[in-house]
């Protein structure tokens, strides 16, 4: 569902250092009293992107969005949209529209009046407004609902009216605050798909704020992970998931087994980490920017660990007695598409392993109270130094 890159080179302008950003946020800080809700954030967002700001509550993502819309003014720093400095531009003069988390539909106006509101403020001729409203209703599949009032619509319909209203003025940039937050799971999945389709058709730049990592992963061209007012990491969904840059990001996105270790070998082509916490040595088959004796962390995703009853044969290029550890299956959670194993290692630590249930009712599946070996490839984990 994520936006499909049509041409690798020109649909990923963030990979091109010469590309001109459409939204340029420079060293923006927003303080409420003494508390910095947004702390020194710099971010470039490019035309046609569907950028997700992902973070927990209080991470500053909504404040950043409100500064883009003009409802808050930065304490310091600048925001440029399409090359124009926004600091002196009032919300009602910005080439930006916003879709609110509560949808904020005007309760005393009909669906058509809601959508037409922005167009009327622009003083468009009546015939043109009517044509645009009809077009937008068609886009969000609500033709025939013109005269309903917001309280006569379902949650999903309201969400689509809010989207149509925000798109009506053909903004260069659309800000969406938790656009799918109030929908139930099934509807959310469908709507995600529609949202991406609409974004692709219109070519509008979207900035979406969400706390739902699945939503961010499936929608975004790039994700900015926010933590305590700062951008923790910016990257494409795969980068964020597979190559987290810090313990926070590794833990925040998906689940990860994370252990502390000490570097014992630091070579250009591999690193060996001794981890008392894991009870084995970790062999990482690529170079890492670290030094011997340095304490660092190593994280691995549950699905990247293999479980076997027999001790696995040493892997090619990986020294024996590394990247494997013995344990005991203490608990199993069957989720249908996959199974989660809670494995207790000999030293008492737990690790989490998931396995896809490719076979129906697999009789060979590992069960409770079995002794198992957990192993992983030299490239599977991430070394984290912060």
């Amino acid at each position: 569902m994520a936006k499909k890159p049509q041409l690798v080179a020109d649909t990923r302008p963030w990979r091109d250092p010469a590309a001109k950003p459409f939204v340029r946020i420079r060293n923006v800080t927003k303080k409420f009293g003494d508390i910095a809700a947004v702390a020194d954030v710099s971010l470039n967002i490019y035309k046609g992107e569907l950028f997700c700001l992902l973070g927990g509550s209080g991470s500053g993502k909504s404040t950043l969005l409100r500064m883009l819309a003009g409802f808050e003014t930065p304490t310091s720093g600048t925001i440029e949209i399409d090359g124009q400095d926004m600091s002196k531009v009032a919300p009602y003069n910005r080439p930006v529209n916003m879709m609110f988390q509560s949808y904020a539909l005007f309760p005393h106006m009909s669906v058509a009046q809601n959508i037409a509101y922005g167009l009327k403020r622009d003083g468009l001729p009546r015939a043109e407004i009517e044509a645009r409203v009809a077009e937008l209703l068609q886009l969000v599949k609500l033709t025939g609902y013109e005269n309903r009032k917001p309280n006569q619509l379902s949650g999903g319909q309201r969400q689509r009216v809010a989207l149509a209203r925000a798109l009506a003025k053909r903004p260069k940039l659309l800000l969406l605050d938790e656009p799918l937050g109030a929908l139930d799971k099934k509807l959310r999945e469908e709507t995600q798909f529609e949202l991406v389709k609409i974004q692709e058709t219109l070519g509008v730049t979207f900035i979406v704020v969400t706390h739902d990592q699945e939503e961010a992963m499936s929608l975004a061209t790039r994700i900015g992970v926010m933590n305590q007012g700062e951008i923790a990491m910016v990257g494409e969904p795969t980068e964020i998931y597979e190559f987290p840059n810090s313990r926070f990001v590794a833990n925040f996105i998906g689940s990860a087994n994370m252990v502390e270790g000490v570097v014992t070998e630091d070579e250009p082509d591999h690193v060996r980490i001794q981890s008392k916490e894991l009870g084995t040595d970790i062999y990482v088959s690529h170079g890492v920017d670290c030094s011997p004796e340095q304490i660092l962390w190593w994280a691995i995703r549950p699905e990247k660990i293999n479980l076997s009853r027999e001790k696995p044969a040493p892997q090619a290029g990986v020294p024996s007695e590394t990247n494997m550890v013995k344990g005991y299956v203490e608990d199993i959670a069957y989720l249908g598409d996959m199974t989660v194993y809670q494995v207790k290692l000999d030293n008492g630590r737990y690790i989490r392993v998931t396995k896809t249930n490719a076979l129906r009712g697999d009789p060979e599946a590992i069960s409770w109270d079995e002794t198992v070996w957990a192993s992983w490839a030299g490239t599977s984990g991430s070394v984290l130094v912060s």
């Binding site: 009602y92 904020a104 509101y117």
Partner: protein, 267 residues
């Protein structure tokens, strides 16, 4: 069976409790006897004598005028006050304003009336305005205590109003003034209407405060009725009360009808 009888019985008792006095008043307004409490046959005599009464009708008209003006002033002041209390982030004296604005709600009328009288007298001797007491002082007094009621009503509606509605309008290109007239005002309109009506009723109803601050030639309807009743209830008062009840009932009926029609059929 028992359950099906309980509700109608309780409801009847409730309605009787509320409306029996009013029904009695309406019936006795058509009494032929000059003695209000003795029924001696149907007549509209009290209505015709009301028509020629030199006091009652002018007093009623004066009261209506005072109530309308005072309610309108209270509506403007109370709305401004509520807006400041709800929307302004923090300002010096906000807590004091919040407390003082609701004080008239719990202040006994006698004290409010006396305090206003003393103030008007002091003002007259200091700055010469308002000169003497009369309609103007009653309007000022009524607007003062009605403002408190309007503030409370409008404040609760404003608190419930989702701020993002106003932000959404602004985001779509409306200037702050437009936002107020397009979004804020229509949404708080019901509160404004009920605030105005409440103020109007309170002003129309007030006897105590008006007695303190009124002057010669500015007797409001409650004052006239009160002075008449002291000499025994006059049948004209019954007739006037019946007419007022008729207007109120018609008003409520029309309002309900309008509301029913405006309420959209459920989707």
């Amino acid at each position: 069976m028992r359950r099906s009888l309980t509700v109608p019985i309780v409801a009847t008792l409730g309605f009787l409790f509320l409306y029996a006095p009013i029904i009695a008043l309406v019936i006795f307004s058509f009494n032929a006897n000059r003695l209000v409490t003795v029924w001696s046959g149907f007549s509209v005599a009290s209505y015709s004598s009301l028509w020629s009464d030199p006091q009652l009708l002018p007093a009623a008209w004066l009261s209506l005028q005072i109530a309308a003006i005072a309610a309108t002033i209270a509506l403007v002041l109370g709305t401004l006050c509520a807006y400041a209390l709800v929307r302004f982030r923090r300002f010096r004296g906000k807590t004091v304003l919040q407390a003082t604005v609701s004080a008239p709600l719990v202040m006994p009328d006698v004290i409010t009336g006396l305090a206003l009288l003393l103030m008007f007298v002091a003002m007259q001797s200091l700055i010469g305005w308002p000169s003497g007491r009369g309609v103007l002082t009653i309007v000022i007094a009524h607007a003062t205590f009605c403002t408190a009621y309007v503030t409370v009503v409008v404040q609760s509606r404003l608190t419930d109003l989702d701020l993002s509605l106003e932000e959404a309008a602004m985001d779509l290109g409306a200037t702050p003034v437009r936002v107020f007239f397009d979004v804020t005002l229509p949404i708080i309109a019901p509160a404004l209407v009920s605030g105005w009506l409440l103020a109007f009723t309170l002003s129309l109803d007030d006897l105590v405060i008006a007695s303190f601050v009124s002057g010669p030639g500015s007797s409001t309807l409650p004052m006239v009725i009160y002075s008449k009743v002291r000499l025994g209830v006059a049948p004209e008062v019954n007739a006037l009360a019946t007419i007022i009840i008729g207007f109120v009932a018609a008003g409520v009926f029309i309002a309900t009808l309008l509301q029913l029609r405006r309420k959209p059929a459920k989707a």
